[in-house]
Amino acid sequence: MKSNKPFWILGLIGILAVVMVPTIIFWPKTASATSDPWSQMPTHPIHVDHKDIIKGPFATPQDVTKACLECHPDAAKDIMMTSHWTWESQPVSIPWRNGEEVTIGKLNQINNFCISAQGNQKSCMNCHIGYGWQEGDEAANLQNPENVDCLMCHAISGYAKGSYGNPADTVDLAAAAKTVAIPGRAQCGKCHFDGGGGNGVKHGDLDESLIYPSENLDVHMGRYNFICTDCHVTEKHVVKGRLLADNYTINPSEQVSCTQCHAETPHEDERLNFHTQSVACQTCHVPAMALEDPTKVSWDWSTSGKDIGDDHFTYLKIKGNFVYEKNVQPTYMWFNGSNEYRYLLGDKIDPSQITYINKPAGSIEDKTAKIFPFKMHLANQPYDTGMNYLLAPITSGPGGYWATFDWNDAFTKAQERMGLAYSGNYGFTQTYMLWPTTHMVQPKEDALQCSVCHGENGRMDWKALGYPGDPMTWGGRFSKK
């Protein structure tokens, strides 16, 4: 009889099981649980205030680096292997040069903004994370760990670059060093927002408005206060993400993508999820760039050198004419993540055609390619009419074009310093660069709607993308015919 006690408890459990099990089985399903993007967010190290750790004063910037390396012994070694330091990509075999292995970067190649960093170290080293790189001394300079400029990324205040990558004379090194922390948007933005010679010049989707972004400017940085390294996940100073302009091919594993955190088909609406086979997230979620600060969409070097009055947004004597635009609608192209072509110094051009400095790879036939938004920058830049290749003038520094306004002299100096042969005759030719538009992401309420692309008011040029017509009516590339 006494043994009945556990028995009735067992019975109670049995009865509850009989009630619970079918209930759980038949419990109505809630709307399909989407993956939780937050679970993929990297955690950042807890901030250690260095105010009392850093002992100044420092006589040279290299002394600061030495002090850093005392506690962070691997930091310089790690970062010196990254392209932030080397300013070049890994060597890559170039098909249009019979498989020649070349590297691509600011170290050795040109763009269609300020054209060349090479030979212009005085100004351009503002954005190199090292000290004292002068023309011709990269071999020695880049080998020395003490030249790593920790402060440039880690000093939250009181730091600025002067010439040849050295700190500006006004900088109090010890004071700046005491502020070190994990880099925020402003630190990364110093170079990435101001690339090309000023705020918003290059990218269109990256400019100083993102330092204190409003919610409407970028959902990640504005609404949720993301910093760059939340997506550009960083380990041992290797920052995830590759710049399309300075690479030929990019391994997807090295690139930042929306799907790091978001599902491949994250929409509640099936019709939208079908789109993700052929349309990049950015295409709908970055409807326009340069939302607050304008970006440069074209640049004509040929008109430079005139004393017609400077205006930051239209004409500078040293740079020529340019056009800035705000709220720019991207150019849409198929894109598989790599370039189809990247202009290399010495590549012959057809001056009657517009030369692509970089041309994104992908086509409607490429199943891995998606329609992707780009900022297209059109330049009119100098080329050698004898050699039929693009020229890289010496602009900054004493005797540079910005002092002499003598193109011939700038190209002759370049021949001396960079070894780029100059025939003595130059002209101007048009070039394109394409920059992926991937920041200034908008939430669903502000993403593109159907009719923005579809219907004949749509912004897509379906024929140019390779479709017979609007895929809404003609079917997409994965539709069964």
Binding site: K5, W8, V18, T30, D269, D446, G455
Partner: protein
């Protein structure tokens, strides 16, 4: 093969062209900027011809569309197969909801918003003659039908002008008399192909011609602005530069297209596509009829991006209309009925084994003779073209509602069977809509007192636009089924009178003006009665018939004008709402919206802020909804319509209450509690007075393990069923519980209960224990009386139980009787009513055979109350054992201390 390819290319070009034409026109049609015309990539050039077929370049006469387009297209067929042309002419004389209605269409059916009606031959007073009707409505009359042909079927131009015939005369507002109208001189209006098929029709110029009575030039005027014609004096000249040397239009002037949304919008309501130019509308603007009457407007734009000052706009990330957002156009659903691309055969017209009949018109045949009767639904503009009702694709022609709902919507089939898709998918209209028109008074500018719902004020830009929730009405479909569907109700009041022949007619506006006004101002008599603040002006609050004095004053004025028996009449016109559909999170998808006391299903809608003359309006008779609810006069003087789902035999869980059932049930339940409470108290007092002397007890194994298992399983099931049932019945009280999960839980519990009951019945039968439950017929009543006496007397005196409880005879006679009723009546009833209520989704026929939910559900509630009462009594009676908790312990452990009954 080659021809197929060629055909496809041609078709593709055609489609692209049409889409291009539509898209671009869309963008430009409604903006203030000059519209840009799109040249048709496929339509051949043609000559513009006059009514004799001669090129207008030669004759300089108005364009005849019938001759121009009829050169290639079967214009005769088109004009005769179009309710847009007919507008009720073919049903003239059939009458309608009102005594003065003469047809089912715009030509003859009274429109209380304009307050004008088409006069018939023999009317004592003439309001709209045919010519004046055309002038008034011409802006939305595409021509043909009554603008071409008389009510007797003769060409209007062949009629002799006569001041006494409403077809050949017009009212002179100065004299109040009719004068002859010469159709041969004014010309007539052929169906205007350009209005719907040109990318840039000029309806403004066309309307100007119509209003000036120059009907012949109306269609030509439609082309003004295209560069083809130029107005010169009273006629139009043709620009030779638009024509080639053979007299055909140059290709760049061929602006022909498939009708775009903007073409439809000219007459039907607001369409907006230009993303650069945020949408704005004028509240309740009757030049946008469907937008004014319902608040529906067609735009892909997100509401948050529109230019309207909408309440909570920033969070309204939905588009105005999902179908517009997804690039559908009007003609995708309202297609020409013989369009081979869209046409679908009615189910009843095709053999059961055939799902698709490929024998269709080829495209050439279709382009020659396109049927201009367009597919239509069955609610909007209810009376028009009844033979075409339901020809349109319905939601379920394109959407598979089952797959979209079954994974989350409980009772999907049931919801689909009683709700129109629009009910949940158009939960709210965001633009204002007309609420009421009061023509019992008139403003000095000749307009009525009007009220607009969904806006606080008049301007959609500076006043707050709140939008409104449509009222849900029972819509009777053509297949005889009834669905709950959203409507706007527009209420109008106006004066009617009896003429000398005893016919009832609305009081004409000229007469109303004569009664109220003198030289454009209110006359002295009206001012004396209406002008409360004596400032010589009538404010909106003064200009309303809210006293008998005012009503008498106007009645006297009208009577003085010779109108017999003038009286106020009010009517409610339901306007069905089918556009502005939304999806996803914007849709009604939480059960509590409807399944609660303040249910959406019974949410009232205001009809008017006041009731002119205290006259309650009637629902129009010719609509597919019945006003089965109540008209409610509110304390503030306003009038509302309160839907009464119960009147329509609708039972909505959580909303519907049969009060007497709940009262009765509650009474039984509370009565039982009071009864056992009293009994228990008395027992307690008795026990205090006469402490119980020790009784000899012995421990007996009373219940087997299985008995205890089924008993407690049943206990838990029933208690939880009662509780979940209560939540379903009164979800407003138990807001913390999700209705949806509770319903599922209730159903699962019910299944457990039924299975448990069946298994235990089987066990009782096999083990023979069932005999315990069967009262012995012999001596049962005597025994029952003995047991009853014990409960009312012996128990207080610690007398032993009259019947010994043993393992084989657990139940006393009263228990036997109770269980007999419980198990044979209440439980089966509850199971059957519950199962049928569940079965309403699977086998509605059986459920409906037994009265449907309105009968079953209250019954189920009542029985549930009785079960509740039983449990109270049952639990109480377990305390009558050897000790109060002994019986309970017995049921838990199986062993019970029982009093030993001596036979001393």
């Amino acid at each position: 093969m080659k021809t197929t390819k060629f055909f496809l290319i041609v078709l593709a070009t055609l489609l692209i062209g049409l889409a291009a034409a539509w898209g671009i026109n869309q963008a430009l049609a409604r903006g203030n900027s000059a519209p840009a015309a799109t040249v048709s990539p496929i339509h051949p050039t043609f000559a513009l011809r006059d009514e004799s077929g001669e090129n207008v370049l030669v004759s300089a006469k108005p364009i005849s569309t019938m001759k121009t387009c009829g050169k290639c297209h079967d214009a005769e067929f088109i004009a005769s197969h179009s309710f847009h042309a007919d507008l009720g002419l073919s049903s003239y004389g059939q009458g309608g909801s009102n005594a003065w209605d003469t047809s089912n269409g715009l030509f003859g059916k009274f429109d209380p918003l304009t307050g004008r009606y088409l006069s018939q031959v023999g009317d004592e007073r003439i309001d709209l003659t045919t010519a004046e009707w055309l002038k008034l409505y011409g802006w939305r009359v595409p021509g043909g039908g009554p603008s071409l042909t008389s009510r007797q079927g003769k060409p209007l131009a062949s009629l002799n002008p006569s001041a006494s015939d409403p077809e050949t005369s017009i009212l002179n507002p100065l004299t109040g008399n009719t004068q002859a109208w010469d159709w041969a001189q004014s010309g007539v209006m052929e169906m205007d192909c350009f209005l719907c098929h040109f990318t840039t029709p000029n309806n403004t110029a066309r309307t100007a011609e119509i209003q000036s009575g120059q009907f012949a030039w109306a269609n030509t005027a439609t082309l003004e602005g295209t560069g083809i014609v130029t107005k010169s004096g009273n006629s139009y000249s043709f620009n030779t530069s638009a024509f080639d040397e053979s007299g055909n239009l140059k290709p760049e002037f061929i602006l022909v297209q498939d009708p775009a949304n903007a073409n439809c919008a000219q007459c039907h309501g607001t369409v907006h596509t230009d993303p650069a130019n945020p949408l704005t509308v004028t509240a309740c603007d009757t030049t946008q009829p469907q937008t004014a009457a319902t608040g529906q407007l067609i735009a892909p734009e997100r509401i948050s991006e529109s230019g309207l000052n909408i309440s909570g706009k920033a969070n309204l990330g939905r588009s105005w209309d999902i179908h517009a957002e997804r690039e559908l156009k009007c003609t995708d659903c309202h297609y020409a009925l013989n369009n081979p691309a869209h046409y679908q055969e009615a189910l009843e017209n095709k053999p059961a084994h055939l799902t698709y009949d490929p024998r269709r018109l080829d495209i050439g045949e279709y382009l020659t003779t396109p049927d201009h009767n367009f597919a239509r639904g069955q609610s909007a503009q209810f009376t028009v073209a009844p033979e075409l009702k339901g020809t349109m694709r319905r939601c379920d022609s394109c959407h598979n509602a089952q797959t979209a709902h079954t994974d989350w919507l409980p009772y999907t089939e049931r919801h689909m069977a009683v709700l129109a898709c629009e009910t949940c998918h158009i939960p709210q209209l965001y633009a204002p809509a007309i609420e009421s028109y009061d023509w019992t008074v008139i403003k000095t500018d000749g307009s009525a007192q009007t009220a607009c719902r969904g806006i606080e004020g008049q301007s959609t830009i500076t006043n707050l636009v709140t939008g409104y929730k449509p009222v849900l009405m029972q819509r009777k479909n053509i297949d005889g089924k009834t669905l709950l569907a959203p409507y706007n109700l527009v209420t109008t009041w106006f004066w009617i009178y009896d003429d000398a022949k005893g016919n009832t007619r609305p009081v004409r506006q000229v007469d109303l003006q004569a009664a109220y006004l003198e030289n454009g101002q209110y006359n002295a008599g009206i001012l004396a009665t209406f002008d409360a603040d004596k400032n010589g002006q009538l404010s909106d609050t003064e200009l309303v018939i809210d006293t008998a004095a005012k009503q008498d004053a106007v009645t006297a004025k009208l009577t003085a004008l010779g109108l017999k028996n003038p009286r106020i009449y009010g009517q409610v016109q339901p306007y069905s709402i089918n556009h502005n559909v939304t999806r996803g999170e914007w849709v009604v998808s939480d059960c509590e919206t409807c399944h609660t006391a303040s249910s959406r299903v019974s949410a009232p809608i205001q009809l008017a802020a006041n009731i002119p003359g205290g006259v309650l309006p009637e629902f129009v008779k010719d609509s597919n909804v019945a006003g089965s609810g109540q008209l409610v006069k509110n304390a503030d003087g306003s009038l509302s319509y309160q839907p009464m789902p119960a009147n329509d035999n609708i039972y909505v869980f959580g909303q519907t209450r049969i009060n007497w059932i709940d009262w009765l049930g509650a009474l039984a339940f509370v009565g039982t509690i009071l009864g056992v409470g009293t009994h228990g108290t008395l027992r307690y007092i008795a026990a205090l007075r006469h402490p119980k002397h020790a009784v000899k007890t012995q421990k007996v194994q009373m219940y087997d393990a299985y008995e205890r298992f089924w008993h407690w399983l049943q206990t838990i099931s029933i208690v939880l069923l009662l509780f979940t049932g209560l939540v379903i019945h009164r979800p407003d009280i138990f807001g913390v519980f999700s209705f949806r999960y509770i319903v599922t839980f209730h159903n699962v519990l019910a299944a457990i209960l039924v299975i448990n009951a069946a298994l235990s019945l089987f066990w009782h039968m096999v083990s023979g224990q069932i005999r315990q439950y069967i009262p012995r017929p012999r001596g049962f009543f005597d025994d029952a009386i003995v047991q009853a006496k014990f409960y009312i007397d012996g128990i207080f005196k610690h007398q032993p139980h009259p019947f010994e409880k043993t393992k084989d005879s657990k139940l006393n006679p009263l228990q036997q009787a109770t269980y007999f009723g419980l198990l044979n009546v209440l439980l089966p009833l509850q199971i059957v009513t519950g199962a049928l209520m569940w079965g309403v989704q699977k086998v509605p026929a059986i459920t409906n055979l037994l009265g449907g939910l309105p009968v079953l559900a209250p019954f189920h509630s009542l029985v549930a109350w009785l079960f509740g009462a039983f449990i109270v009594a049952h639990v109480y009676l377990t305390t009558t054992g050897a000790t109060p908790l002994e019986a309970m312990r017995g049921m838990v452990t199986g062993w019970e201390e029982l009093e030993v009954h001596g036979k001393e």
